[in-house]
């Protein structure tokens, strides 16, 4: 199983980019002409995805088909996300005064890296979008906001309807992330979030003072949301089923079915530290490691968020952690923080670890959507971690 999923995906993206470059001449056209070019490209990449699945089946039997389907679904999610931004771009253009200054929506949507400078120019339009979530704006200009909402709704829902009609749920999910994210961070910012840190720096210039920091936080959240969907799509349900059917102890190394970029991105979530929870009694009796010396950990930020959501209430903590009721009544919960988890061989779990239960899923995600990794906690010196009661 040595397929380079990341490389294949990049090839597909380049293929789409070239396809869109082919319609460079159409950029002076308006409305339907641009729509036609984009949707021609959409049809093209959908065809490519189908061809990829067929190729996988012909050359790799069931496994090849399963892997190819996984790649196809990943492309679908990315494609859906791009098209959603395009659709929102149409809405923005319809709203903007002097829309011509924004160049054309095709390039804005599909070559965001070339248009980051233009995103700055859309700041005023982004402000219009922000008004949708402002009670003051609704009170002072309800008519304008209604028109804004209508324009956006018309621009976005058509794509959903097409994806749903075709049963292409991976593309649907890509749209969903962008559109839901845009409710919080705005259309232009959603596009920049997709383009990564370069976009974030531009947004930093868009905002001012604390607002800029807030905007960046939102962009980071949006990026994470995108990664969540991509992660969910990185392994097809069929491949997940195959891996889960393999007895614990014989499951493959995640590097055999996850791309290097996926693994790198996943583990980067732990660069700010890794955390695990345990009861005080369990810690006192058995330490922080399982019997095979490993320990499952979550990103420190996710642990912080989980604790914040429980407000120190033991009953809420039990519920959030899925613990039996009453577990924490006379047995405090302790957080174990590992500031440098890479020193303890941080890795994506294989499912062979002692702590991998029947809820374990391939890909480093819990059923709740939380991220997980595994470390060799048994080899950590006491100076390599800290323990803190949390209630």
């Amino acid at each position: 199983m040595g397929i380079d999923i990341g490389g294949t995906l990049n090839s597909a993206r380049n293929w789409v980019g070239e396809r869109l470059d082919d319609v460079e001449g159409a950029k002076d056209w308006v409305g339907g002409k641009i729509d036609g070019a984009v949707h021609s490209a959409e049809d093209g990449i959908d065809g490519f995805r189908q061809d990829l699945v067929q190729f996988g089946e012909e050359h790799g039997g069931i496994v090849g088909k399963t892997l190819a389907q996984g790649v196809s679904n990943t492309i679908g999610a990315s494609e859906g996300a791009t098209l959603a931004v395009y659709d929102m771009g149409k809405g923005v253009v319809q709203l903007a005064d002097g829309a011509g200054k924004l160049a054309n929506p095709l390039e804005w949507a599909t070559h965001g890296d070339r248009n980051l400078q233009r995103v700055e120019n859309v700041g005023r339009v982004a402000q219009t979008l922000d008004n949708l979530t402002s009670p003051v704006a609704w009170a002072t200009n309800p008519g304008g906001n209604v028109e804004t909402a209508k324009a956006l709704w018309n621009g976005v829902t058509a794509g959903y309807q097409d994806a749903a009609k075709d049963g292409d749920w991976s593309k649907f999910s890509g749209r969903l992330v962008v559109d839901v994210g845009s409710l919080f961070i705005g259309a232009g910012e959603a596009n920049a979030a997709i383009k990564g840190t370069e976009g974030a720096s531009v947004l930093g210039r868009l905002g001012e003072g604390g607002e800029a920091v807030n905007t960046l936080d939102k962009v980071v959240d949006g990026t994470r949301a995108l990664e969540t969907v991509r992660a969910a799509d990185a392994i097809s349900p069929a491949l997940k089923g195959e891996i889960l059917a393999i007895p614990k102890g014989a499951r493959p190394n995640p590097a055999e079915y996850l791309s290097p970029s996926y693994i790198s991105d996943h583990l980067a979530q732990f660069d700010a530290g890794a955390t695990k929870f345990t009861t005080q009694a369990t810690l006192d009796k058995y330490g922080i490691a399982q019997r095979d010396g490993t320990a499952f950990v979550m990103p420190k930020g996710e642990a912080d968020a989980l604790l914040a959501s429980a407000h120190g209430d033991p009953a809420l903590l039990e519920k959030a952690l899925g613990l039996p009721a009453g577990t924490l009544e006379n047995n405090p919960l302790v957080r174990v923080d590992i500031p440098n988890p890479r020193d303890a061989n941080l890795r994506v779990p294989s499912g062979n670890e002692a702590g991998a239960n029947d809820q374990w899923l391939p890909g480093g995600k819990l059923p709740t959507g939380n991220s997980e990794a595994v470390v060799d906690a048994g080899s950590l010196p006491e100076s390599g971690y800290s323990t803190t009661p949390v209630h």
């Binding site: 009861t279 058995y286 577990t327 239960n357 809820q359 374990w360």
Partner: protein, 82 residues
């Protein structure tokens, strides 16, 4: 009270009810905690003197074959034995 790190289980007696138990560490991926299985006094004394004698029962607990003896019902995300 006895803790066997070697065999990864512990013996104890509930303060309020006086019930004897075997506990095993489990993890659900989010947290490590313990499950408690009720045993009688005879078993408690036997396991306390000879911890290895408890292993067949501990293995049954780990394999969820002694759930009728659980003192606290599992939560929404039941852990697996560590």
């Amino acid at each position: 009270m006895l803790v066997s790190r070697e065999f990864r289980f512990s013996l104890g007696e509930e303060e309020e009810s006086g019930r004897y138990y075997v506990s095993i560490p489990v993890s659900n991926g989010l947290a490590d905690y313990e499950e408690y299985y009720e045993i009688d006094r005879t078993a408690f004394e036997r396991y306390r003197v000879d911890p290895a004698a408890a292993l067949p029962f501990v293995d049954r607990c780990r394999n969820r074959e002694a759930d009728e003896l659980l003192i606290v019902p599992p939560g929404s995300n039941r852990g697996t034995a560590l």
